[in-house]
Amino acid sequence: MKYIDEYRDKEIVRLLAEEIKRTVTKPVRLMEVCGGHTMSIQKYGIPYLLPEEVELISGPGCPVCVTSRTYIDRAVAYSRRDDVIITTYGDLIRVPGSSSSLDKEKANGADVRIVYSILDALMVAKKNRRKKIVFLGIGFETTAPISAAGIIKAQMAGLTNFYLYSAHKIMPPAMETLIDEGVKIDGYIGPGHVSTITGKGIYLSIPEKYGLGVVISGFEPVDLMQSILMLVQQIENKEPKVEIEYTRAVKPEGNVKAQEMLDEVFEYRDDWWRGLGILKNSGLKIRDKYAMHDAEVQIPVDVEPLVEPKGCICGDILRGVSKPKDCKLFGTVCTPSDPVGSCMVSNEGSCAAYYLYNR
């Protein structure tokens, strides 16, 4: 498959691994903040290819992991209404809320449908005019413009029964807060597809304020190894900057149209991130102009009081401060089939990934 196979070349990967080994002179900790990267790294077994000095840590790049339990509780509450159909990406279905989850509600008769795209959800809304279709909008800057496009379409088509429940967030505040909090990072592997939308400008503060580099990486093994090499070279040369490894997909200015759509529908608000607390202007709220499609505004529900599981240290893990094996619940009470915290339930959460490739 074009643009995929060439970047999975075993020999190039090996050569890059050797080059990394030759270049690095001291231990470095590189953080990736993109669930897709966590998955690729795990899927291809990248850590086994790297020299000891290079440590990869997973940051809060998994939108499922950083979303609050209250979001799930509210989604569960929506699903319990007879007049609501929940449409959601598959990622959310097993995430535990305070007392239930969407797949449990589905088993109990709630109308919960997994969709591949918001366009499918719009179809559901079109076919079920008497129901309220609530689309669960999770994801960062890659997915948010798509939710925006969906809202605009809904409005133009007069789909007054279509609502978005936004948990959308943006990346840069999290990247800065981690460093502010003293998490030890020597460089960032920048999110690949977020950057196709945003361009490289949003990361400029990282080298400027903190002297750390950001290399925007693709997802294939060659991309990741190349990006790691570029970061290691930046560190050795003491030249932190924002570079694009993923040049075939990321333009420096990004996708301007998508940025405009995002801006048209959403505005920033303070938002709570698991592991990081409340970050200023890090969440996306639907603007008043589109409030008729905002589930939070239009659909009243009683949400149960929040219960966070005892012993779960997902927060620390998301910040890279603790490793999954530091958690008392890891592998015993909390496993991929029986997750307690979100880091374990999401395929790309740190704990799930660790469970799979680090035992």
Binding site: Y3, L16, G36, D120, A149, T247, K257
Partner: protein, 89 residues
Amino acid sequence: MCLSIPARIDKINEDTAICTVGATSYQASLELLKDEQVEVGDYVLIHTGFAIQKLDAEEAEASLKTFDEFRTLNKQMDTEEQKTNKRLI
């Protein structure tokens, strides 16, 4: 966070396109690329039903060329190393 895959545009119908990955076709929305010149034969990244960016063939060629050069250079280095027991780079 970003399951996106490069797919080839086989057919364009106004603001949607039939895109192919391997031998699988998907009808994706081109709304986010309204301001771009998109043609049959172009490759785009698809994410949850939308094409989010066009792949730059030139950049891809350039990066693949770099890898090829890297591979050749490395072969030379390997041969050098075997002869002289030293590695320059």
